[in-house]
Symmetry: C2
């Protein structure tokens, strides 16, 4: 097969256009290949490429040309080649590439995924991660992140909306507010009956052997909002508890907002510290193992790729979904957004 290099395209002579049926190129009057497609055919010796009908290009020259046009050509080509070698139909375009369901060819079926390509050394804003979900809704495709690591291995991640099922929550009877003592960065509830109830029915806090309940700051703040308890603080009114909590836990406001949102959905929320996240979340009261790890981030957070990889790998290893949560301004209000990122087996 013969092609002619023309900027960011390689034009194939009309008679050779049967490769269209093999999933390469697009018909735009003439048949055009992207640089990734042409490079793959060149490397596999299925194509010869000339520049201005003169010099035949070898792979080295072709790579130089491609890198001049796109500095990211290296990682783009590695992902393209990896997907082709795995037997997928893939087409440059969209965010970075379109990926087709296994066995399908472009034209026969619509693409199922769009791929965003990153390198191990890139940084990736949380906002861009969340924006993939908006693109997904608009394009009706599923988002995939492909990360090319320093060893030129590629890890694929799927990005999903998190759909929590709403669970009816116990309507607590408002009794007298329980007395508690602030122990610096946690709160001690003295009433042994209430302590046992809150712990056994709704999984709040840690029950000591004396049947007292140690509550975290977010738990205490939430139960206070529910008029269940009050906090005795010297010289400090309990209404100021949120201010106090915020002064000793730097990300308290974000963390509390997410905690409240999840509890209001009827979910059981406990610290995820042992898994390196803010929360572990149980879908149901009877569940033995938590289903989600939720890490709360400021909306302007920027991920390093190793940070994303570490969080997702850990969650995967303990059979939980890794979910990043953040607060977003929506008009006058703040809403909580959840982005679920997981490893994807291709």
């Amino acid at each position: 097969m013969q092609g002619e290099l023309s900027g960011e395209r390689v034009i194939v002579a009309g008679s050779e256009a049967d490769i269209l049926g093999k999933g390469y190129g697009r018909k735009k009057g003439r048949l055009e290949l992207s640089l990734e497609e042409a490079c793959f055919l060149l490397e596999n010796e299925k194509m010869e490429i000339k520049e201005k009908e003169e010099k035949k290009l070898n792979l080295k020259d072709f790579l130089k040309h491609a890198l001049d046009i796109s500095p990211k050509f290296g990682v783009r080509y590695l992902v393209y080649r990896d997907l082709k070698e795995r037997g997928y139909a893939v087409q440059p375009g969209g965010v970075d590439f379109w990926l087709y369901p296994r066995g399908a060819k472009p034209g026969e079926k619509p693409a199922r995924y769009f791929i965003r390509i990153l390198s191990e050394m890139d940084f990736f804003p949380l906002k861009d991660l969340a924006a993939l979900l908006i693109s997904a809704r608009n394009m009706r495709k599923e988002p995939v992140i492909a990360v090319v690591d320093d060893e030129s291995d590629i890890t694929y991640y799927e990005v999903k909306e998190t759909k929590f099922e709403f669970v009816e929550i116990n309507k607590e009877k408002k009794e007298e507010k329980a007395k508690t003592t602030l122990l610096g960065d946690r709160v001690l509830l003295w009433d042994t009956n209430l302590a046992e109830n809150l712990h056994k029915n709704d999984f709040y806090g840690k029950l000591t052997k004396e049947k007292r309940l140690l509550l975290s700051l977010v738990e205490a703040a939430y139960l206070m909002k529910k008029n269940m308890l009050e906090i005795e603080v010297r010289e400090q009114r309990s209404e100021k508890f949120i201010d106090y909590a915020n002064s000793i836990e730097s990300d308290f406001m974000d963390k509390y907002a997410v905690y409240e949102d999840l509890r209001e959905k009827g979910l059981i929320v406990k610290t995820g510290f042992k898994f390196g996240s803010h929360f572990r979340v149980y879908k149901a009261r009877q569940q033995k193992h938590s289903s989600y790890l939720i890490h709360v981030l400021p909306a302007e957070h920027v991920f390093s790729m190793s940070e994303l990889s570490r969080a997702i790998r850990l969650a995967h290893g303990v059979k939980k979904r890794m979910i990043f949560a953040f607060r977003e301004k929506a008009g006058e209000e703040n809403i909580i957004r959840y982005v679920d990122v997981g490893r994807m087996k291709l």
Copy 2:
């Protein structure tokens, strides 16, 4: 038993001083208990505590007093109680506490560990983590970090020096420098013989099916330093490669310094991306699984507790040691320091 509160101590009447033999308190003329020790005896109803020979204090009043004196009393007491309940002899003092080997009592044997207490919501500078190793050498004790999480559970971490065994490295023959092409954020080596040798003998790079070698920026920089290869860059001299790499990978200088240090020790170093760290390191050429995960940090890095927990938990799950590396100025030179942090079963 009767005690009298006196600031940050509780004084025990002389006749009752047999508790000294049970591992509580210190003899300083009279027998003194720390607030944690006294609180533990009070909570277990083995002691009555009075203030100024008047009012008998209940636990709530005692906690208030203790929190007035030390805002961190809550987490300190939780760690103290946890260790006592696990049957350890523990004594307030040193960094936070001294911990004795199982079965030993203070006075009989020296303490084995010193404990640094942190809360899930604390931040912990890398410099403070590394300083624990200096203290350890000075005090001839092993450092332990106790982190009290939001559920008032306690996770213990051991902090160690990393002792890498030096392995004799292959003295590479200096042949002609191999030609390579810069592919943006990686480097492609064309010589198929050299590619196979470097990959099979020293585990460099990724070998493609065409027997070309894809090298990472740190690998390429190191092999260039060893006069093994040169990089063809348009309009750019290969000496400037380090500058180039630094411009596209923000932490390249630190990362490269650690890579070179490890390679010079004869270790096999590959990306640790899949484990969320910069490097995975093999002790020997025949080793199937890597032994260490190494994450490179700027010297001024400050850990969140969840970050530490996530990294260590992941490493533990894949049976590797988690090591944090950073560059430290030592006179005129930079030296690389390695801090090994692992979960500790008590």
